[in-house]
Symmetry: C2
DNA sequence: TTTAGCACTCAAAACAACTGAGTGCTAAAA
DNA sequence: TTTTAGCACTCAGTTGTTTTGAGTGCTAAA
């Protein structure tokens, strides 16, 4: 059985109608949406074929048809016409997103809010990854006799800090030693190089000061690791409740989102500019009823992070994909401007 | 009509039974829970009285009785026996809470997680307020030709940072000038004193450097303001779904929690050691079906922040109040140790 | 190949009956 | 005066039945 043009038109009409209404689409209703006239019986035959081919399915015998994952996939890859961006929307998005202070975290948070609102989905965003980042600055700030804050600033603009206790009193010498070791061993080094191995040799070389100083460098290494791990921000999770087809799964889904780890993987694996995962195409079973659209952003031409949305499979792909591309482009542009020049 | 001892016993039994089962309590069932024997008819008469007095109500004519806000209040203030803490629980709580790095934010986050889990409610925690905090350190870190990170560390251990753009190139002189102004105008000053007024006089006094420097000090003032605002952390919101009596309100409730502002007020206004707000006692209508238990913690004997839970009115007050007191006491103790000495 | 027609399916809505926990009231018992 | 047994009544919730209507597949004629 081959995919005639008429079948394509019918499939597209079913997908679009279902996306619009959320109701299974029957042969009679479909008539009004097609640009050629045949009887409902003909449509029925074609729809039965499309069902055989795996593009459509029926919730139950006496209901209309609903697209399968395969159906959505065919539609998105071959049939869909991307919608044009609405000028006014672009402006308001740009305004909201750029309103922040320039802090990457705040920017991504804003961007997440915007797409969550715009798409009525849960939004996920990742901060610029520190893959190539180096240590720009390390500081020690005594807070009390035996505690100090250790602060790390990376070349990617990430700032991390941690309180740290020592078993010995912190003196002016301690501080000076810290800075001198930092200058020789940390500043300018890639974050990736600061691991347990590097730390061990360092501590060994400290000699008599090892006991005094090591807690601080351990803390610093922790911070470096922390800065490397690309943080995931979540926005608009509550939007998931607006989609009744997700009912019952929402809580489970939110629980899944809460532990950012799988999300980070989800985002990391995409290679295309925009990644779309429909229902069971997702490797995580918690997402089997959801679709994910992920759009990456580049800083200085280099893939650095991504924005994504998670919602029901019944997403308005034609509209949302361009929007996601727009926002991620915007984020990339702003971050490139902030961090370079 | 006066509150006889028998009425008190009956009220307590109704409240406790309802808290345990979630079902309206009928006269017959109540018989088994009372330490004196009368007939169900007698109970019915007494319950009718209690209803007249405003302590109980009926969902509908042929259902049992449910405590009103007033009923809970009377129970908590006059009838309840606080439960003893379970030794093993205390230990495991202490272990979890103290496992962090000493960073206040991490500590409160952990504490929030613990109480959310323990109480099966949504947990709110506030970071130690910076009311009396002073500027400990201010740093400027050039990130590019025209952008710099401004970093503020307060005496309360709060660290805030912000990216900041200038219209003029940032030179070594810029940096030096920044530090010299900081040393004279910011370091050691209370955060509260850094307002627009202070800023205006400062900028005026900068003379020819005003244009070059002011963005950084504006950013610094922003950070100070930010550090003053006591951040609210949320944990375990999803727990709210486990309470069917909140059904339908959960989304609205979560939305309310998400904007931290009213929460901050909620917490700030309490004066007692432990604050309990039942249902309509809450000033926010979104909380009309919920109860809130807030327990404050002290650092160095000074009221500094609080932990709270939000759940249905049907909370096990006798058990949860001591737990909240325990955890907030623990948090206060740990923070006192970390920040002083 | 298309279409009209028809018998069939099945979820959802509407309706009806039943159940049972619980009530309030009354009149007798303590 | 207080307590209790007894009884009629209420009403949410469950269960079962019927009706409705959108939609299907198949067949036979166009």
């Amino acid at each position: 059985m081959d995919m005639t043009e008429r079948k394509q038109k019918i499939l597209a009409a079913v997908v679009e109608s279902y996306i619009r209404t959320g109701e299974p689409v029957g042969s009679k209703n479909l008539l009004t949406e097609l640009d050629f006239s045949v009887s409902s019986a003909t449509i029925r035959n074609e729809m039965a074929d499309l069902a055989d081919m795996g593009y459509l399915e029926q919730p139950h015998t006496s209901a209309g048809r609903v697209p399968t994952t395969l159906g959505y996939r065919y539609y998105i890859d071959k049939l869909m016409n991307k919608m044009e961006l609405n000028e006014a929307d672009c402006k308001s998005i740009t305004k909201t997103v750029s309103s922040g202070s320039g802090d990457p975290e705040q920017l991504l948070e804003k961007a997440g809010e915007v797409i969550a609102k715009l798409t009525n989905c849960a939004a996920i965003t990742t901060l610029p990854s520190g893959d190539r980042a180096t240590v720009r600055r390390a500081e020690i700030v005594p807070v009390s006799n035996r505690t100090a804050m250790i602060v790390l600033l990376t070349s990617a603009g990430t700032l991390k800090s941690k309180a740290c206790r020592s078993d010995m009193p912190i003196t002016q010498q301690t501080v000076e030693r810290f800075y001198s070791v930092c200058a020789s061993h940390f500043i300018g080094k890639p974050l990736e190089d600061i691991g347990t191995v590097m730390l061990q040799t360092l501590v060994a070389s400290l000699g008599e000061f090892a006991l005094e100083m090591s807690p601080f460098f351990v803390a610093l290494a922790d911070l470096a690791e922390d800065a490397l791990r690309s943080d995931v921000l979540l926005e608009g999770q509550a939007n998931l409740f607006n989609h009744r087809e997700l009912d019952g799964n929402v809580i489970e889904l939110m629980e899944f989102l809460r532990k950012g780890d799988p999300i980070a993987k989800l985002i990391a694996r995409g290679t295309d500019d925009v990644d779309i995962r429909i229902g069971t195409e997702n490797e995580y079973k918690q997402l089997a009823n959801s679709s994910v659209i992920i759009s990456h952003y580049d800083i200085n031409g280099e893939r650095s992070g991504a924005l994504g949305i998670i919602g029901p499979t019944r997403l308005n792909y034609a509209k949302l994909i361009p929007y996601m591309q727009f926002v991620s482009g915007l984020v990339g542009k702003i971050l490139t401007e902030t961090l370079e020049e």
